[in-house]
Structure formats: C-alpha cells, structure tokens
C-alpha cells in the first residue's frame, strides 16, 4: 500500500470493462500532490471513464485507486473528498448561483449562513459576485463554466477533476480560462486532474501529461518531454505536427543510428533501445526543427523541390518533395530571419535539420 503523502491519486492496475468491451486496459499512474495533471487523448480513449472512476461514478472492474494513501475505489461518490467540474456543467437549475456554490458545504454539514459566506468568497475568486442571486439559466456559457468551477472548489476538495471544462467555449474565452485555471490551481494549491483532447491546451497548462489512446496509457511526462521525446508513433503524431517517415536502420554505433528513407536519402539520429540494424520503423521530424537552404549546409541535407507554400500567420509552412522520396513539411517563423529561408514553389532546395530533430519511434 503506498503511503506516500506526495502522491495525491494513485491508480494501480485499473481496468474498466463494459460487458465484453474493455474501455480501460490496466492503467497505472501516480498523480502528485499539488500538480496540474492532464489526461490527454482522442475522443473515446477512456479519459472520462478514468475520471469517473476516480470520482466514484463508475466502479473499478479490476485494480485499485488511492487518495493520499487511502483506498477510495469502494467508497460512494459522496464520501470521496474530490470534486468534479462536469463537461456540461450540470448546474442545479432551480437554485441561485450562490446556493449552487454553497451546496457542497451544506452537504458537509455547514450551516446555511456559513455555506453562503464561503460561496460568496469563491464567487469573488472567479469574479462572479454580482451574479450570485441569478439562476444558472440567466448566465452566459462562460459564466456558467465559472460557476461550475466555483461550486467544485468551494468545499476545498483534495483533488479537483475537470472533464473537458473548456470545450464548449469559444477560442478567445477558452484561452482566457486556461490562464485563469492555471492561476486558480497555483492559488488554491489543490491537485487538478484535467481532461482534454486538445494537445495544445494540454501542453500550455500542465505540469505533467498522460497521453492515452484506446484505453491505454501511451506516455507520461512533462510537456517538453512528451513533445520532444515522444515514445511511440501515436504520441509523436498526436502531439503537435510532425513529419512521420518510414525508415530502415542500417547500422547502430556509438549511440547513433544510421538510417535511410525512401529515395535513398540518408540520415543519422540518436539510437533508441530496442531498435537495431535492419529494423523498419518510423521517424519523427518536427517541421519547426527543419530549415531550408539553397545549398546543402551539411552532408546529410536532403535534396528536393518546393511544392507549395502555406501562409499560417505566425508561421509559414513549406511543403517539399524530396527527390524520388517522401514529402516533408518545413515550418519557419514569419519573421525577417525566418522569411530569409522561404523559397518559391518549383525551387530546388536542401532540407536541413537541427541537432536532435530526428527521432526514432517504437510503433
């Protein structure tokens, strides 16, 4: 039994089956005290299921869940000191905003007056004091979202669970709420478990991220680690844009792997345990770690011809057809330095890569 007080939630070998369908396949992960932790993955990968198991709405088919060392997976939801911000808010329509926020405290046995006083404080924290007397239906989507947040924070839960809380908001509001959520997490010191399918949101907000797919944990780590050292094809592809190339490993020596891709282009990159000579695997090359030049700057520059230029705003993406081989996307910032590396369609160019840009992946 883990007794570590630094671990807020410990999921040990949790399995969830619905009949014959396995929604979660043996998930184990530890979420640290006071951490902004994100569950990231495409729709249907089991994020909500895992969150609901922690909250107590779904029982655990196999395995166990601990909250600061205490097993909670057999407790009913109302006995678990965790609160949830629901995806569709689930505000009580017949209660005022103030009573919505005070509800949890009342249920914990606080007097109505005490509950209201604390609810008022929390509403102030999310800048909704002037709406305390309204009914939820009289608020905008963004305001309802904050009420849901205030309601879940008011009882001072040990862990706050947030299931895609921002998905219904428009982009601008969403960005503002991302900042606010992060700020609230720091201010309250409560452990947040945040669910999203938006990788950018996950990268900007999280201390650590668990990437999930098809009911399995793919990788767990800090944003930078997951982006720059994706462990497998799924993670590399799901997080950010990347050029995924099929490569064949020719030789491995001194921690470096020599590979070639279609068209005979040669590349050298860091070797990865478990990928030896002769292996046919994937390689990830982030577009922003590549740059174009008129003439090759190194032995391993790849020769090709510009097919298309795409204006993105902050960046410009150039699509290059390698001679006799695959297609590459190269991104450069829309700045005077970046624009010096832009070439018109039809031009012969060399694709160069920064140190460590190429990564071999386990499938």
């Amino acid at each position: 039994m883990p007794q570590d007080r630094d671990i807020a939630i410990d999921v040990q070998g949790a399995v969830k089956r619905y009949g014959t369908f396995t929604a979660l396949k043996t998930i184990s992960l530890s979420i640290r005290d006071n951490e902004f932790f994100t569950l990231l993955g495409p729709s249907g990968c089991g994020k909500t299921t895992l969150l609901r198991m922690i909250a107590g709405f779904e029982d655990v088919t196999e395995g166990a869940i601990y909250l600061y060392g205490d097993e909670i997976d057999t407790l009913p939801p109302h006995k678990r000191p965790v609160n949830t911000v629901f995806q569709n808010y689930a505000l009580f329509p017949h209660m005022s905003v103030l009573d919505n926020v005070g509800f949890g405290l009342e249920m914990l046995g606080k007097s109505k007056a005490e509950a209201r006083a604390r609810a008022g404080e929390v509403l102030e924290m999310v800048q909704l004091s002037q709406f305390a007397a309204r009914k939820p239906s009289q608020l905008s989507g963004g305001q309802q979202q904050r009420v849901a947040l205030a309601r879940a924070l008011a009882p001072r839960p040990k862990v706050l669970l947030l299931d895609e809380p921002l998905s219904a908001l428009d982009l601008k509001l969403r960005k503002a709420m991302q900042v606010e959520l992060k700020h609230l997490q720091r201010e309250t010191g409560i452990t947040f478990i945040f669910v999203t399918h938006d990788q950018e949101e996950a990268l900007t907000m999280s201390d650590r991220i668990a990437v999930m797919s098809a009911g399995e944990l793919q990788q767990l780590g800090e944003a930078r680690e997951i982006y720059e050292h994706p462990r497998n094809v799924f993670v590399a592809d799901f997080i950010g844009d990347t050029n995924l190339m099929e490569v064949t490993v020719d030789a491995v020596s001194n921690g470096r792997a020599q590979c070639h891709l279609g068209g005979g282009h040669r590349l050298t990159c860091d070797a990865v345990d478990g990928i030896g000579p002769g292996a046919k695997v994937h390689m990830s090359l982030r577009p922003e770690r590549l740059f174009l030049s008129a003439d090759p700057v190194a032995d391993e520059s790849l020769k090709g011809r510009v097919r298309e230029m795409i204006y993105i705003g902050t960046d410009i993406a150039t699509i290059v057809d390698l001679d006799g081989g695959p297609q590459f996307t190269v991104r450069s910032s829309n700045s005077s330095r970046g624009n010096a590396r832009i070439f018109e369609p039809g031009t012969e160019v060399a694709v160069n890569m920064e140190q460590g840009a190429a990564r071999l992946l386990i499938d």
Binding site: P77, H94, M107
Partner: protein, 306 residues
Amino acid sequence: MAGGGATGGTVQSETYREARTLLLLPAWVTLGLLTLAPLMIMLVYSFLTKEFRGGVIWEFSLDAYDQFFFDRGLFGDEPPKIEWTYIGIFWRSIWQAGAATILSLLIGFPTAYFIATRPEGQRAFWVFLVTIPYWVNLLIRTVSMKFLLRDEGPLNDGLIGLGVIAEPLGIVNTNLAVQLGLFYSYLPFMVLPIYAAVERYNFALSEAASDLYAPRWAVLRRIVIPSVKPGIIAGCILVFVPSLGSFLAPDLLGGAKTFMIGSLIEEQFKGNAGNWPFGAAASMILLTMVLILLLVSARQSRKEAV
C-alpha cells in the same frame, strides 16, 4: 413599389386570419357545446326553483344555495343558522381526496421513477403494464376492490394465514376503503405525468449532487424532487380533482359515514327524490373550489419558474 408590397402583405395576412378562424372553428364549437353550454345550464339551474319529482320550475330562487349553507329549521321559519351537514360532507370529501392523492403520490412517485430509469427500450412496456388495469370499466374495478378488501377476501385471508392478524381488519365501509378505492381509480394519472417529468430530468444533476457530498436521500429531496415538481403538481391535481367529485368508490366501498360530495350530487339527479337546483348548486360550489385550487397552484408554479 414599396406601397404595393405592403398591400400584398395585408392581403396575405387577411387570408391567413380567415383561414385561422375557419380552422379554429371546430375547437370553438367543441368547447362551446361540450364545456361552456353544460356549465351555463348548471349555473342557471342552480338559481331555479325545484320541482318535486325532479326537474325545475322556471322561477328565480336562491333556495338551493340557501339550503346548502343555512339551516332554517324543519319548516323554514326559524332564524338561519349555519348548516354544517353539507359543509361537513364537503370537508370529508376534501380529506378523502387528499388522502387518496398522498397515497397515490407515495406509490406513484417511486413507480414513475423506476419506469423512467429503465433502459429506453423497456419503458413503453412498463407504462403499458401500469395502464392495463384501466382498460376495465371503473365500476368493475371498484367492485373488485371490494372483493379484495372484504372480511372474507384475499387480503384478510392472506394476512390471517401469515399470522399477521387474528381477526379480519374490517376495512370495507371505512374511510380507508374509500381512500384505497380512489387511489386505485386514479393512480395512472399520478404515475404518467411524473414519469414524463423524470424522463426529461438530467441525471447528471444527481451525479453532481452526490459528487458534492449529498447522500442519496438528499439528492432526491434537494435535486430530483424540485426538478420534477411540475410533474408532481400535475399528477396531484389529476388525482385530487376527480377524487373530490367521485361517487363510485364512496358508494361501493364506503358506508353512511363516508358519504362524499359526489354521491350527494348524484342523489339529487337520481329517481324522483332528487332536487335538481340543489345538485346544480353543489356542483357549482365544487367547481369553484377546484378552480381556486388550480389558480393557486398555477400561480405557485409561475412564481417558481422565474
């Protein structure tokens, strides 16, 4: 051009108005013939003079109302005192109907909740089961109830057989028998509106409440019941109102002590002993009370909707 367009619009809306009048005609005729006209006849009759063998004499009179509320002695020449007989019958009717309504609510709410929480494909089947007994005529159902409840009936036999009681309960001819009869007569009117409300209820709210430390009972009391309240109110009205004016259950299951307003009215129009203006007046008084009840509950729910 702009003027022409405006004229066209007027012509069109006139056509529309005519069509609408025509389409609404059946509704107006139905309402007029089947609701307003009988009501007006009742109202007029309640202010006429009684004919001894039933029927009325076309002479204005307040006797019917006077008889309902005041006692002027055997020969009608004493100073008026309040007549408690009919008010008492009224009061008992309200009480009986109220008890039947509460009983229906206590049984009907869990039933409706149960049905609404079945998987979607099964709900129609459960609703069907609830309504099956109501394909049988009310009279026959009420008589069957008497057979169930009587001292030699299966209820008493069963309880004695199980050793719960030694003597038959003697339920028939009591208030309880009438309440059970009314309850059984109108139960679906309680179940169906509550079922409809619970089916529309967002169960995520129950999850949110239990997430916020509410035990099951508190979830029910603080979240579910307030959310389905319109269905509960509708069900209560639909059971209470017909129970109030019912005469079958009190006649068949009750005795002299359980006489209700419905039976009183019924008697005034039956055979030669009746008093039509008095029956009409009692009906108008009943109707007024029901209207007041409906208005109060409508105002209540409007206040809460804001």
